[in-house]
């Protein structure tokens, strides 16, 4: 049987499922065997199955953040023998970019190789390992920004622009407030601003994640936890959901910037009532997704999350056998903009 048939992927109520591996990919409900690609809340709605598989840094973040234990922690490239309906398989994990610990799953089976990108971005980041396309027969790729309107500017340029904006605000005796997702984006900003020599104050949810990063060996110097009484100058980093909270609204001379891939859309500025927006994403943009699909050489591509259906349609126009898989209860805006329950109290 051809690899694309033997390694079919299906959408089940619990999440994406690979029958040949008897394995769920980032399931939304408790299952016996699951791969967790990274530690964002929407990928760990429920755990506790007998066999969970994650990269070592993701396992550490899951433990620290949600108190979840992972039965199989893998270092990059470490092989795990996996008994499965398809026969003896080998599972490995490779960096997916995105955030610290974010992993692609590589499953080598007698029928061929399947790769699941999880949330993904190619190219270097300041606080996570470099994601890159992996050759395979069957590719399951995220499509959060899988529309041709999503073309992101170079990350270095955006980081520099953010640094410049913050510097100008501080020079004008204002408090620059960056709205950024607490895990991943916030740490990248901390690192970038730290390199630029700017003092950073981290909202509780952000500070907690910064500490977790530092415990995993990512240095974030110059970051202090935010306190209401702290009036010394600094860049305040808060999660987007805290935009409406009184400590942000009441902060004297606060100037708000929204930092996200979604900042590309005009409506984002209105939604977050922001003074400035910066298009900086932890996800692949449309070109990056196309590059990743092409480079993989996959004969079948499953698209999932966000704009799975239109992205699959575009791939089919390019004569690629692509099919969308809809994951329920999760959509495009989740990772970047939305609070998750576990953070809301932090």
């Amino acid at each position: 049987m051809a690899a694309e048939e033997a390694l079919a992927v299906v959408a089940r109520p619990e999440g994406l499922y690979v029958p040949a591996l008897d394995l769920f990919l980032d399931p939304g409900a408790p299952v016996a065997r699951a791969f967790v690609s990274h530690a964002h809340g929407d990928h760990v709605v429920a755990q506790g199955g007998a066999r969970t598989l994650a990269s070592a840094p993701t396992a550490a973040l899951l433990r620290g953040r949600f108190g979840l234990e992972t039965s199989h922690c893998l270092a990059w490239g470490e092989a795990l023998a996996w008994d499965a309906p398809a026969g003896p398989c080998t599972l490995t994990v490779a960096p997916a970019g995105h955030v610290l610990g974010a992993a692609q799953l590589v499953a080598d089976t007698p029928a061929g190789r399947l790769v699941y990108t999880g949330d993904y971005q190619s190219g270097p980041g300041l606080t996570h390992d470099v994601g890159a396309p992996i050759p395979c027969d069957v590719l399951v790729v995220e499509a959060t920004f899988g529309l041709p309107i999503f073309h992101f500017p170079p990350r270095e340029a955006v980081r520099a622009a953010i640094g410049k904006w913050c510097e100008e605000r501080l020079a004008a005796n204002e408090t620059p407030v960056l709205l950024a997702y607490a895990l991943g984006k916030a740490q990248e900003l901390c690192a970038a601003l730290g390199q630029a020599g700017l003092p950073v104050m981290a909202h509780g949810a952000v500070a907690k994640m910064c500490a977790a990063y530092e415990a995993l060996g990512v240095a974030l110097p110059g970051v202090r936890p935010y306190a209401a009484a702290d009036t010394a100058p600094g860049v305040l980093i808060v999660p987007p959901w805290a935009r409406g909270q009184s400590f942000v609204k009441k902060r004297k001379n606060a100037r708000i910037a929204y930092v996200s891939g979604w900042a590309l859309i005009d409506a984002a500025r209105e939604r977050f009532d922001a003074d400035a927006v910066f298009t900086l994403s932890d996800h692949a943009d449309f070109d990056d997704l196309l590059f990743t699909v092409r480079s993989s050489g996959a004969r079948r591509v499953y698209t999932t999350f966000g704009h799975a259906a239109p992205f699959a349609a575009i791939l089919r126009e390019l004569s690629i056998d692509a099919r969308p898989l809809e994951a329920l209860g999760r959509d495009a805006h989740e990772q970047d903009a939305k609070p998750d329950v576990n953070e809301a109290g932090a």
């Binding site: 041709p148 309107i149 073309h151 959901w241 005009d266 209105e270 349609a313 329920l328 959509d331 495009a332």
Partner: protein, 602 residues
């Protein structure tokens, strides 16, 4: 930049305006642009009109007639993406113009395109308005867009429909005109209210001739608006006010001069073709006038029919003969803005009313229904008038100050509307949908339901009543409660209870409950209430029955009747409950004689 009068310069100004939160900065940016193009009358007019939210002058009988489908067709050729992908992009941005602009930005050389001058754009607008042939408009739009850079593309398409999305448009445009030409904002507003044309007002402001702005029959004036009685802080003197039934229809102006009859709705759009029988009713008089009033569907007994019936007529560009027969519409006139004697805006209501009656006497036998003002003397008289209005099938009362001018374009204390929410219901959210525009990316449209035994049956949809912050929070909660997805609609676990206020119950086949609510709006989130304790279909039935008894609304037409299974005929509600009055009660303060002074425009 060689000339400031280019679409690129204008689009870049719009981008700069969009990129600031400060209304003052927005105003300054637009004012600077208007000053820069001031010597070019065509460019000035077009800019001011576009900024006020319209491509042609208000009252212009023509329309650009470029719709979503045509733009999609042209954009597909322009960008190489099929309509399905374009639609997905437009959903993601909440705006087709923005999406096409982003796609054009990926085309080689797009940023360096020569662009259009504003004179060329005005010419294109004229040509759109000059033809109704789709086959002509497509190539015209393609040729125009093919010359546009990404930012021009975005704003050219936004100008064609959906709005510029750069901030409060009309207010901002008028403020910028005042600033650009150093005129008093009140004078600018005054001129705009009478002419409805920001392009003309900009030229008058430039030439220092705002005072010459004149209302003309055939060109709509901004409507005078009433303040809800809850919003009136000072007690009102009943001796100064007259009272009318508040008519629940479509607010409209009817303009008649010579052989021309025009009907304008709110937003100053021309709706003459939608209501041919109303236009015909005015054809026989030789007198001229501009009237203010409401369009209503009229039953055989001459009473107004439910708004839902009229709604069927609104979206029809040209009604069929069958529709004209089954849903006849009449114009209920209650004010006069001008007649053969000239403009009447600056005359007291008493005089305008007398002139209105004189004009109506010339109209002849028509389905025209006249509003009847009564002079109330006491608070008791008013209460009686309110009950009477409800019995006659109207939604409440209008109190009008008899010595006040027609304050075009103002929400004024000289007119006071007295309404009463009919009741509220606690309903469960069963589905949610992403909004558009500002609400793109958040779930702002909710379908709600009541209990029928163990089953939830939908009774309506609501979009308004919550703050942005509440919508954000609801979005987050609903996302985690998603059960299934059909296109844009997400079915959610029925757990969140909303208190819905509304003005009436009607039978309807649109919703599974067999009923629809009139003017549903979200009164508040009822997080204190578990879904099981939401209201039942029986409650809705008894509200409907109570409403019929009170004579509030007639029975719907047979076509609106729902099937027998959900009808309440011959079946007593299992749980009786009187209609719950809404929290706002009628309160009149008739003890002080402190007058509210009508604003006298210059």
């Amino acid at each position: 930049m060689t000339s400031p009068a280019t679409l690129r310069a204008l689009a870049e100004t719009f981008e700069a305006m969009r990129s600031t939160r400060s209304p003052r900065v927005k105003e300054a940016l637009l004012a600077a642009f208007l000053s820069a193009v001031a010597s070019d009358t065509g460019a000035l007019q077009l800019t001011a009109r576009l900024c006020s939210g319209r491509g042609l002058a208000a009252g212009d009988a023509r329309s650009l007639g470029v719709g979503w489908a045509l733009v999609m067709e042209v954009a597909a050729v322009l960008t190489g993406y099929p309509p399905g992908i374009l639609a997905a992009c437009a959903r993601a941005t909440g705006d087709l113009g923005e999406a096409v602009g982003l796609l054009v930005a990926r085309l080689p050389g797009a940023a360096e395109r020569e662009g259009l001058t504003l004179a060329e754009l005005a010419d294109i607008w004229d040509r759109f308005a000059g033809t109704s042939r789709r086959a002509d408009k497509g190539p015209m739009l393609f040729r125009a867009l093919a010359r546009c850079s990404p930012v021009e593309t975005k704003y050219l398409l936004r100008s064609l429909g959906g709005g510029l999305r750069i901030g409060a448009q009309e207010t901002l445009a008028l403020a910028a005109i005042a600033r650009a030409f150093d005129r008093d904002i009140e004078s600018v507003r005054w001129a705009f209210a009478r002419t409805g044309d920001a392009g003309l007002v900009a030229c008058l402001a430039r030439d220092g001739e705002l005072a010459s702005a004149a209302f003309e029959i055939g060109r709509p004036a901004a409507f005078m608006l009433a303040t809800p009685h809850e919003g009136i802080r000072t007690p009102i003197d009943p001796g100064l006010f007259v009272v009318e039934d508040k008519i629940d229809g479509i607010r409209a102006q009817v303009h008649k001069r010579g052989d021309e009859v025009s009907i304008f709705a709110r937003g100053l759009t021309r709706v003459t073709a939608q209501f041919p029988e109303v236009a015909d009713a005015f054809r026989f008089t030789t007198a001229a006038a501009a009237l203010d009033g409401e369009l209503v569907a009229i039953g055989p007994d001459g009473r107004p029919r439910p708004f839902l019936v009229l709604a069927e007529r609104i979206h029809r560009k040209a009604p069929t003969r069958a529709m004209l027969a089954s849903i006849p519409v009449a114009f209920l006139a209650y004010d006069l803005l001008a007649d053969d004697q000239g403009e009447a805006l600056d005359r007291p209501w008493t005089e305008r009313r007398a002139r209105l009656e004189r004009f109506l006497a010339t109209v002849g036998p028509t389905p025209l229904v006249r509003a009847n003002p009564v002079r109330p003397m006491t608070g008791e008289d008013l209460e009686r008038a309110f009950r009477g209005a409800r019995e006659r099938g109207h939604e409440g009362l209008m109190l009008k100050r008899s010595d006040a001018f027609y304050e075009a374009g103002r929400r004024t204390a000289s007119w006071i509307k007295v309404k009463q929410a009919f009741a509220t219901l606690d309903c469960v959210i069963t589905a949610a949908e992403e909004g558009h525009g500002k609400r793109a990316g958040v779930w702002s449209d909710y379908t709600f339901a009541v209990w029928n035994g163990g089953e939830l049956v939908s009774i309506g949809k609501a979009y308004s009543g919550l703050t942005d912050e509440e919508i954000e929070l609801l979005t987050t909660r609903l996302r985690k409660m998603t059960l299934d997805r059909f296109g844009r609609v997400r079915l959610v676990r029925p757990e969140i209870v909303l208190e819905i206020a509304f003005d009436g119950v009607q039978k309807s086949t649109r919703h599974k409950s067999g009923f629809a609510l009139r003017f549903p709006r979200i009164a508040r989130l009822r997080d204190d209430k578990p879904a099981e304790e939401a209201d039942t279909l029986d409650t809705v039935r008894s509200l409907y029955a109570a409403q019929l008894e009170s004579g509030h609304r007639e029975e719907p037409r047979p076509s609106e009747e729902v099937s027998e299974e959900v009808s309440d005929k011959g079946r007593a509600p299992t749980r009786k409950r009187p209609p719950r009055p809404a929290s706002t009660q009628l309160v009149f303060g008739f003890h002080s004689t402190e007058p509210t002074v009508p604003r006298r425009p210059r």
